[in-house]
């Protein structure tokens, strides 16, 4: 039986796959925001019987950050960028997509073998967490643009968030806050840096950064 929580988790994976196949930055930023929204709703649905003000506030904060602030920052940062598409990535979109399918499959195989201390809300939780983290890392490694890499970090963070959900509502609060802060600073700095690099060098191809060195 497919529950609402399952449905949200399926959306999370579909976003993962879409992120691997998409070359348009704008669409990518929005779809990752959608992933953040789905995940922000998840604790409210999954743990609604133990809902406290604190978890509600946490979920609300996460929703606001991932659903509104991050996309706004990123969209603003990339707005001036003349090239709205990702440059030719290190791994092509079709190959990325196939790799993504393989990752999801492997995550399900691994997830079924990973013992959990207590039953999770959904048996999809662990596979989704694994595949989202790995696909986030895959995005960071395989893409050229700084903005896409930031989105990879966001996907990675979403994966960690799902991992947190496997434990319970209260426990990960601190962890989640820490990670969220990290990513927030990361996105903020990256957003600024991207704009400045853009203004300075007319390009935000991160692989060009290797040329920035003191020695000839």
């Amino acid at each position: 039986m497919t529950t609402l929580a399952d449905l949200l988790l399926i959306v999370v994976i579909l976003v993962d796959l879409f992120a691997l196949a998409s070359s348009r930055l704008g669409a990518l930023i929005r779809i990752v925001a959608l992933q953040g929204l789905a995940l922000g709703l998840l604790p409210l649905i999954a743990h609604h019987e133990q809902l406290t003000w604190r978890t509600a506030a946490l979920a609300g904060g996460s929703l606001a950050l991932k659903g509104a602030v991050f996309p706004w920052l990123l969209l603003r940062a990339t707005r001036q960028d003349s090239v709205r598409r990702e440059l030719t990535p290190f791994v092509g979109y079709t190959a990325s997509l196939l790799a993504g399918v393989a990752i999801v499959g492997a995550a399900f195989v691994m997830g079924s073998r990973l013992p959990l201390p207590f039953p999770a809300v959904s048996d999809l939780l662990v596979p989704v967490a694994l595949s989202t983290t790995i696909i986030g890392q895959f995005l960071i490694v395989s893409r050229r643009k700084a903005a896409t890499q930031v989105l990879g970090y966001l996907v990675l963070e979403n994966g960690i968030f799902v991992f947190g959900l496997t434990l319970s509502v209260r426990m990960p609060a601190l962890v989640e806050m820490g990670v969220l802060l990290d990513v927030f600073i990361g996105v903020f700095v990256m957003g600024l840096a991207v704009r400045h690099i853009q203004q300075e060098f007319d390009s935000i191809d991160a692989s060009q950064l290797t040329h920035l060195r003191d020695l000839p």
Partner: protein, 303 residues
């Protein structure tokens, strides 16, 4: 009790209607009235009565190509259930035979195109084989996903009375399969965003360009085979996505026909609202559908 043979004859008779319906939806979306819905029938009848002009480059392959394509696609139709109503031929593994017969029809069409020695037709043949080589695994994954969810090995079982229960248990998996099937419907039937059935710019075409040297009854057979293929995909999609299995066959059949009409309407709306994809992006679309179907299978098998 509706005889399975009636399902087959119904498909043979109604297949060209789908194309007419799509054109009508597109016209309405563009604010025009458009040609009559029955126009495809008139076209087929007109072509059928004409004489043929065959290229001097062609051999027996061209002469038999259109016949084989039409016959293979018609034989494939015999395996397709009309929603909950069984198909005349139904056995374990008939879905594989269906995919194979469609591939036979395509193979004959590709060889006919290459038999003319035309570079345009060679180009269409090359693209058609490339995209269908990618579409075939996706289609088989859809079959696998639906088989897993419904527990049947033949199409008539898969889409049979157990389907509503399967939607309840494996709804996500079946929805992903249906989405992938829709993309394959677009790709395999030369619809926008993969191919444009209305274009007359040879360099951008896939399916139409293979038929440039077909005329008269040869062209009619090829066009009819395309209509049958569109009907087959529409019927599979409607059978999967409209799980109305009341047990009253007339009602089920009506729901199925409404489903195919709806599928045609959706195709028409997609065609009205989207642009053709760059050719290099088509594989991405098909592989994306494959990713959906594969994810559907993964969701379906979790214990």
């Amino acid at each position: 009790m509706i005889a399975p043979a009636a399902v087959f004859l119904l498909g043979l008779a109604l297949a060209p209607l789908t194309g007419g319906l799509i054109v009508r939806v597109k016209s309405l979306a563009a604010g025009r009235t458009g040609p009559p819905i029955l126009q495809p029938y008139f076209d087929l009848a007109r072509l059928w009565r004409k004489g043929t002009v065959r290229s001097t480059s062609t051999s027996w392959v061209f002469a038999s190509g259109s016949v084989i394509t039409a016959a293979a696609t018609a034989a494939a139709l015999a395996l397709v259930p009309a929603g909950g109503v069984r198909a005349p031929l139904a056995f374990a593994g008939d879905a594989v035979l269906l995919v194979g017969l469609l591939a036979l029809g395509r193979f004959a069409m590709v060889l006919s195109a290459m038999d003319t020695g035309s570079s345009f037709e060679g180009m269409g043949a090359s693209r058609e084989t490339a995209f269908s080589a990618l579409a075939e695994p996706v289609l088989m994954l859809v079959v696998a996903s639906v088989a897993r969810a419904s527990g049947g090995l033949s199409l008539s079982e898969m889409l049979g009375p157990g389907l509503p229960a399967a939607w309840g248990l494996h709804g996500a998996s079946l929805a992903l399969a249906a989405a992938a099937l829709f993309v394959i419907l677009l790709a395999e039937n030369a619809r926008i965003p993969v191919d444009d059935p209305a274009t007359h710019l040879e360099l951008t075409m896939i399916h139409e360009v293979m038929l440039l040297d077909h005329s008269g009854p040869d062209l009619a057979l090829m066009e009819y085979a395309s209509a049958l293929k569109l009907w087959i995909f529409g019927a599979l999609l409607a059978g999967l996505a409209v799980p109305v299995r009341t047990g009253w066959e007339a009602l089920d059949l009506a729901a199925f026909l409404a489903g195919t009409a709806a599928a045609a309407a959706v195709v028409g709306l997609v065609e009205s609202s989207m642009a053709r994809l760059q050719l290099a992006r088509v594989p991405q679309l098909v592989v994306g559908a494959g990713a959906l179907a594969a994810f559907g299978v993964v969701l379906g098998v979790r214990a």
